[in-house]
Symmetry: C2
Subunit: 220 residues, 2 copies
């Protein structure tokens, strides 16, 4: 079973390393980090680089596709090489998955037309504008498409996927292996639970980051 | 504020990318991935490579040190270059932290002598054998040393650290930013909660992985 983890400039690292840690714990999978070009790919802040070991062309038909989010998605919504790859991979995949704003890329590729899908809470309207039906859930499965909410939700999504593919015992063993017994010190992890002022502050910061990415793209 | 994220051959990726996603969300930090040699460093399965942008020598006195776990720790417990760096960094650090079996490296460096510390549940005995006092908690703070339990616990640890450094509001904003509202599909994330058979299966798998790493090291 081959799993392709997509990388692109300015991705969110935990979006992809979360699912990878879970799925890669399965005994018989081939995990491959892919990007348009092989080599290091940097996250949003530039602080972290993951290596793409293979190009998209070299991994055209993975069994599972994992698409992370990140502000870099905003300049890829009409980027044919990537969207063509997603469409092609999805044709033969067993599971096509996204985390956070990775759903924007699936939608841009035409894979979420009127499909219920999760994404980062701050990106729901944008996802809707691309034709999907954003829902405020942590993990949404629709046929073979599985989408997760923001960033950390990819861990929950991957555990569900393992349970679907290999049964609950396999998922429980991996959960124990990564000691996933979450104890966040606060309860502000969702837009419904966080204080309103926090929501507005984070939304403003995200809007600013998005504008910055778009400006650097159009200025490039 | 400079944060050094340590990499070494056969680390566990989520151990380091979890805290990084949280701490790197602070507006004014310099995040640096470091290793003995700069360049790509591979995780336990070899499926993922993170890039070390700087060598240990180049980042001798970070404000925060984050040490991930991984089976690679087992062959580093007498590795002077790394242990010397840890000791030196700890002398001047504001916070010295570890996730999972990263605590074994702190202990091997002599930093946890009789110190209460968290680690992966399957590594508690080994941590004790290195002079620390393993405790079954998710995050343990003792002076400026903060240790976290297995793998995913690094996210909780980093949120606590943000709250200590910048206040609860900052931590809540980051928690919302990464939509950390965990909803694991099962409740087997700790050795106390998982079925006994699952615990034994995971323990056996971990023992086997550890033996493999040790064998490849002594055979090298």
């Amino acid at each position: 079973m081959q799993i392709a983890y997509l990388l692109y400039d300015r991705f969110t690292a935990l979006d992809i390393t979360g699912p990878h840690e879970v799925l890669n714990s399965l005994p018989d999978v081939e995990s491959v980090f892919v990007a348009e070009q092989a080599g290091p790919v940097r996250n949003e802040s530039g602080s972290l680089a993951l290596v793409a070991d293979r190009t998209l062309d070299e991994v055209a038909h993975p069994d599972i596709v994992v698409v992370p989010g990140g502000f870099g998605t905003r300049v890829l919504l009409e980027h044919r090489p990537l969207l063509d790859w997603l469409r092609g991979a999805h044709e033969t995949s067993t599971w096509t998955t996204s985390v956070c704003t990775g759903a924007l890329l699936l939608a841009a590729a035409g894979l979420l037309e009127a499909v219920p899908a999760a994404t980062h809470w701050a990106a729901r309207e944008r996802l809707a504008s691309l034709g999907a039906r954003p829902v405020a859930e942590r993990v949404v499965r629709q046929g073979k498409i599985v989408t997760a909410a923001g960033v950390s939700a990819g861990i929950d999504m991957a555990l569900e996927l393992v349970a679907l593919m290999r049964g609950e015992e396999a998922a429980k063993a991996i959960q124990l292996g990564i000691e996933y017994d979450p104890q966040p010190p606060f309860d502000s992890g969702s837009v419904e639970k966080a204080p309103a002022a926090t929501v507005e502050a984070v939304r403003a910061a995200f809007d600013a980051a998005e504008r910055e990415v778009l400006a650097s793209f159009h200025g490039a």
